[in-house]
Assembly symmetry: C2
Homo-oligomer: 411 residues x 2
Amino acid sequence: MFANRLFFDISDTQKIEELRNKIFTEYDSNQVGYYSLPIENENLLSDINIWGRKIQNIQNIVVIGVGGSSLGTKALYSMLYHEKKADTPNLYFLENIDPITIKKTLQRIKLEESLFFLVSKSGTTLDTISIAKIVMVHFEIFPNNKCFGKYFAVITDEGSALNKFANEYGLKSFLVPKNVGGRFSVLSAVGIVPLTLCGIDTTKLLRGAAECKNEFFTQKSTTLLKKAIAYTIKGGQNINVLFSYSDIFREFNAWYVQLWAESLGKKKGSKCVGLTPVGLIGAIDQHSFLQLIVEGPKDKSVTFIRVENMSDDMLIPDISLKYIEKADIKKGISAAALLNEQALATMKSIINEGVITDEIAIERADAFHAGYLIYYFELLTSLCGLLLEVDTYSQPGVEIGKKILLDKLGK
Amino acid sequence: MFANRLFFDISDTQKIEELRNKIFTEYDSNQVGYYSLPIENENLLSDINIWGRKIQNIQNIVVIGVGGSSLGTKALYSMLYHEKKADTPNLYFLENIDPITIKKTLQRIKLEESLFFLVSKSGTTLDTISIAKIVMVHFEIFPNNKCFGKYFAVITDEGSALNKFANEYGLKSFLVPKNVGGRFSVLSAVGIVPLTLCGIDTTKLLRGAAECKNEFFTQKSTTLLKKAIAYTIKGGQNINVLFSYSDIFREFNAWYVQLWAESLGKKKGSKCVGLTPVGLIGAIDQHSFLQLIVEGPKDKSVTFIRVENMSDDMLIPDISLKYIEKADIKKGISAAALLNEQALATMKSIINEGVITDEIAIERADAFHAGYLIYYFELLTSLCGLLLEVDTYSQPGVEIGKKILLDKLGK
């Protein structure tokens, strides 16, 4: 069960219907590929299963990729790590051209036990390819070595430079549909391949995403429409906080931040528009950032995420410590219950201050609900993009720095 | 060397002098204790060294604390991990009342090899004390056990409830000056004790902080004054981005975010003021959030942090991969140099867009520069607080939720 309560009301039914029509039109255009990912991936899963049998003895899967090529996968792996199947490989990420992190990761793995996925839609991302070259030299394994294809595979667009490279040297390529943008690609091969190989239940994950799709496009739920309208009302809240209660959501927050910032920050003629995402972890950030939400400018909306039924077998011991009895709590409260009560108390204190607030309560922190969450925030992003009238799926602003860099360092 | 270049100008010398007078007055009042921490800690260091000899065979130091009691320590440990002394204990954190993380951490450590620090200024933080009780039950070690003091110690205010508890059961207490606020406490016992025990060069750390103090208060550098004025000009940039180039700064960003948000988000009569912090990691976030900075609303300032001389022995291999030659770069460029060039190129692209930008280039990612950075951002926070005319050192907004919670769950 995925329950989303809005503590605000949007009653303009005409605006709601207009927005619904817009997203249905975008859906029908077939130009935005992520909408269909939850139901089009059966072939991919069987391909992974067949190919996966060949890679016995692999203990480490290493994703070499950045931004949309890594963040979604990392988000789901962290969120679902506690329920991954036993005896499946560990997942590592080489995202940053940072010698300290690269060294640390390479020291932890052996070539014979590892499989590297080069993940890039275009295949020419400078950071990603440079890291791949460092890995090749470190392990002394190069494209014309016989066993290159045993250790390297690619996830990329069909016909991309990286796909051609893979074909030239006999590497396995998993393909991403061209109409699926990088930051909307986690439910394509980009996320599904490494997650499946690392023992995450991706069938259930896709089923969760399909359920969200169904509720929105078939059952025509209005919740997301109302939320998008509330976020884009002129002069409203231009900072959107995601307050997630559990450490397992840390990377999910980071995925949300990149999705939101890169999709909605755009030039619109001579105007600059955009919404600023902030990711917080409860209960930790109650002890700091909350102060700014409660007493600072009312330019923020807050979405709480909490897990109704978390691992419930850890009770707060009913012992009293001399002089610190103030911190004693009622008997029989679990850590999970305390975490939930913290969320509810904080929510109440924020609503009292008039902050635009909503609550997402998921039944369990499992693959089904993770898939639902991913699709939910992708839809919300698309809806806000339609309301802001920007091109949600492009990123012209990040190209300028790349050009400056290539002019200086390129061959 | 710590070089801070501002790419904007503040020429109002009267305002600069007024601000300087204000902070000198605050400094002289002795009410804000963190100002003096870099030079008052010699006794603490010798206390740690003497006491440290007693705790042989300890392999894990575990900090049980949240917010100001953990974030600064975590920031410095992550930033300096690559230069910690050999054969020193590892540092763990139990911050969140999250059963999944608590379980994971407790599974990794054995009681006989571990030392737990209860860190709380007041000593009655509900989350911290609840986690401590879970640890006690997990390892079956309680206050009236003979060897309790072998495994537990506290860091707290003199005379606090936690200090009394420690005295009652014979635990070692390291004390924090009362006039040092939680989020400004990392250079007090809060950070210095666990970091010293874990092999971080805290003498050098404090020397770096003292150097920043000296440049500001004695040599009267105007850089920080100008920066604070630029950030608080009315109608200006109310989102302040810290774009740090290296994964080692991830937790430092988190420390900055809590410091900035909690110090500056305040009610001022009937008005709500505050600045919103955002922490980014380069080069990773060039592939996402950068889009919002370049093309989104011009409500953001950006500070770049980069390390001039990073570990320079990892070269980008001068090999060319068929079909992906576009990603080839000049011969002899190291990963560290590429990371720096990415920062410079991104900085250029942002300045071109008219964003308020400055650059902090530190010579090395070592304890000296880490100490400088900490003190630098603390000073900047104090200066902005003075300009916004708020009480930088209080946090009334986080108390409301705590009260709601205690009303429901307290005994």
